[in-house]
């Protein structure tokens, strides 16, 4: 190896180290802060000084915070199941059947997932009030369909389009109806794609903020992002940074584990969908 190639190798690894450091440090620092109380918290340090669990006790002792975690789990789960149910048949039609206006329909569905949520806010507010769902989890489940359903349809369509024609042709020759083709031929092949899309839709619903902020008012109906955004201390000036960091860690660690476990699938789903989760 020449001197210059060694130099560039070293530079490359420094670059890699820098990227990893920047990516990981903020979360590391949040974990660090979540274990600190009193003066320790307000002194900047780079290495753990103490292992004090009192911030976690504060957060997990709050009935309203636990309630918001349960709300989030419920809303995200129902949203994902509903989206998958509606999307499987729709994406079969979009991926495997040729009909006029298919491209335009796909483009419209994509447009729905990308348009600004604020543009439907007042109309949706009216609809939810009319249905009597204001300040309930169902208001969120309905409104989250706006972004989870198009996304799920879109990704499942791209997955299904890539499956070979032969498997379907054999079933058609055997006289199978489209419904049988979906449930007996495609569904077993589609499980991996459905896990990926379901996971991404779950993350999207778990993180959603605008609708959750608009359509819930009571502490007992809130989801996690609204609860964390509204975390306040004894007085307005005094922001309880310790408990906020503890709450952030509690709701983020499961997500990070999920994402790392399903890493390859998620990257594949993201590139197929091209949509930010």
């Amino acid at each position: 190896m020449t001197a210059s190639s060694i130099f560039w190798n070293v530079m490359f690894y420094i670059g890699v180290a820098l990227v990893v450091l920047i990516a990981v440090f903020p979360f590391y620092y949040a974990v660090l802060s979540s274990f600190e109380t009193g003066t320790d918290l307000f002194r900047v340090n780079y290495l753990p000084q103490s292992w004090d669990f009192s911030n976690y006790e504060t957060v997990l002792g709050r009935a309203s915070f636990l309630r918001s975690v349960l709300n989030s789990v419920f809303v995200a789960t129902v949203t994902v199941l509903a989206a998958l149910l509606l999307a499987v048949t729709a994406s079969y039609a979009l991926a495997r059947v040729r009909f006029r206006g298919r491209g335009l329909l796909l483009l419209t569905i994509l447009a729905v997932s990308m348009f600004p949520q604020i543009a439907v806010l007042s109309g949706l507010y009216e609809l939810i009030n009319w249905l009597g769902l204001y300040n309930t989890p169902w208001a969120l489940i309905i409104s989250y369909t706006i972004f989870t359903l198009p996304f799920t349809v879109w990704v499942l369509t791209t997955f299904m389009r890539d499956l070979p024609v032969e498997i379907e042709e054999a079933a058609i020759v055997d006289g199978a109806s489209p419904w049988v083709i979906i449930t007996k031929v495609f569904l077993p092949l589609l499980w991996p794609a459905m896990v990926t899309t379901g996971l991404l839709a779950f993350i999207g619903a778990w993180n959603e903020f605008l609708f959750a902020l608009t359509f819930t008012i009571d502490e007992t109906q809130r989801t996690v992002p609204v609860a964390i955004a509204n975390f306040s201390g004894a007085s307005v000036q005094e922001i309880p940074w310790g408990p906020i960091m503890a709450a952030s860690v509690v709701v983020t660690v499961p997500l990070i584990i999920l994402v790392l476990v399903f890493q390859r699938k998620i990257v594949a789903g993201l590139t197929a969908g091209g949509v930010k989760g």
């Binding site: 670059g15 890699v16 990227v19 990893v20 990516a23 990981v24 903020p26 979360f27 620092y29 949040a30 918290l41 900047v44 048949t89 729709a90 039609a93 040729r98 491209g103 569905i109 994509l110 447009a111 990308m114 348009f115 600004p116 949520q117 604020i118 543009a119 439907v120 806010l121 007042s122 109309g123 949706l124 009216e126 009030n129 309905i142 706006i146 359903l149 198009p150 389009r161 109806s177 489209p178 419904w179 993180n207 903020f209 605008l210 608009t214 992002p225 955004a229 940074w241 960091m245 952030s248 709701v251 997500l255 990070i256 999920l258 994402v259 890493q263 993201l270 091209g274 949509v275 930010k276």
Partner: protein
């Protein structure tokens, strides 16, 4: 002889079209539930929101149906005063609205621009073969996995004026003389928002571009290497043109996402004039002041801007978003 063949073919063709018709009919019923759902949660509310922008809807009359049609009054209207001066009113004559437009555009262009460049660098890095590549890819997924609200809180703490680690770092290397209230000062609030957004979204850009990079055949690079072409030239002549389709799609998705930004700004820099965007100002009118009419006018304008922008992008760039052609 020939007649029998024709008859057989015709019968086969008839069966084929019958089958095709049956499939199209089935397709309609498969699509119907999804389309119905999207009509109720997206198309109808969008239509109603646009309708509200032409009425005087507010918190008192919106649910009783008492809102009255006022035409374009929420957008732009004028009154001639006694002394002959013309007084303009409405969203389009409101400096706060134009400030929000400017903030949104500024944010979208700077964040997406930097995310594209940085994302490309990270993607090129991950496309090289080195030990621990899988670990690095896992590490850069972490910012993406963290909920936006949590990122906003985490960075809010790191950017804190008195106890924040960022000020402490900058002070210790001598880049600043005194702590900066990053999120509170109007001139630095946008920088704070940009830092957090770029940190959170660059991984997403990098992964999209990495997928594009991996589609480029390796032997292209090898033949360029054999011909002794400089790596920088290879990047601009081979990599970039081949990456262009993936890049165009990634950039449009990010731009659309950046133009509607709400959550990060709402939590990181609340009520800062330096960062209020179109989504934020519209939300404030609708939810905080109960001014459905003006808020809807603003959200409809944002929708219109995005519509025009997407139309231009698809038309000028000839981007194949649906992947139907490939």
């Amino acid at each position: 002889m020939t007649t029998t063949i024709t008859a057989a073919t015709e019968r086969a063709m008839a069966r084929e079209t019958g089958l095709q018709q049956q499939r199209v009919r089935a397709a309609f019923w498969f699509l119907a539930p999804m389309l119905l759902m999207l009509f109720f949660v997206a198309a109808w509310p969008l239509f109603r929101s646009i309708m509200f922008s032409f009425t005087d809807a507010d918190a008192n009359n919106i649910f009783s149906g008492g809102a009255e049609w006022v035409g374009f009054e929420n957008y732009l209207t004028w009154r001639v005063r006694e002394n002959g001066d013309i007084r303009w009113r409405g969203v389009l004559a409101d400096p706060d609205w134009w400030n929000a437009v400017w903030n949104t555009v500024r944010f979208a262009i700077i964040s997406v621009g930097l995310e594209t460049v940085l994302g490309l660098l990270v993607a090129l890095m991950l496309n090289a073969e080195f030990k621990g590549r899988g670990l690095v890819r896992a590490a850069i997924l972490i910012p993406w996995a963290i909920p936006t609200i949590v990122s906003a809180r985490m960075w809010g703490w790191m950017l804190n004026d008195q106890y924040g680690i960022i000020n402490s770092m900058l002070l210790s290397v001598g880049l600043i003389d005194s702590p900066i209230a990053w999120t509170a000062r109007p001139d630095t609030a946008m920088i704070a928002v940009l830092i957090v957004d770029i940190w959170k979204t660059t991984p997403f850009m990098a992964l999209l571009m990495l997928a594009g990079l991996q589609m480029i055949p390796r032997d292209m690079y090898e033949s360029a290497k054999i011909d002794g072409i400089h790596p920088v030239k290879v990047f601009f002549r081979v990599t970039l043109p081949l990456l262009k389709p993936a890049l165009m799609v990634a950039v449009i998705f990010r731009l659309l996402d950046a133009l509607r930004i709400f959550d990060l700004i709402w939590v990181l820099t609340p009520r800062s004039e330096g960062t209020v965007t179109m989504s934020v100002i519209s939300f404030q009118n609708i939810r905080e002041f109960g001014d459905y009419a003006e808020g809807s006018a603003q959200s409809s304008l944002l929708f219109l801007i995005i519509l025009i922008f997407v139309g231009l992008y698809i038309w000028l760039g000839r981007v194949d978003l649906t992947g139907e052609r490939s």
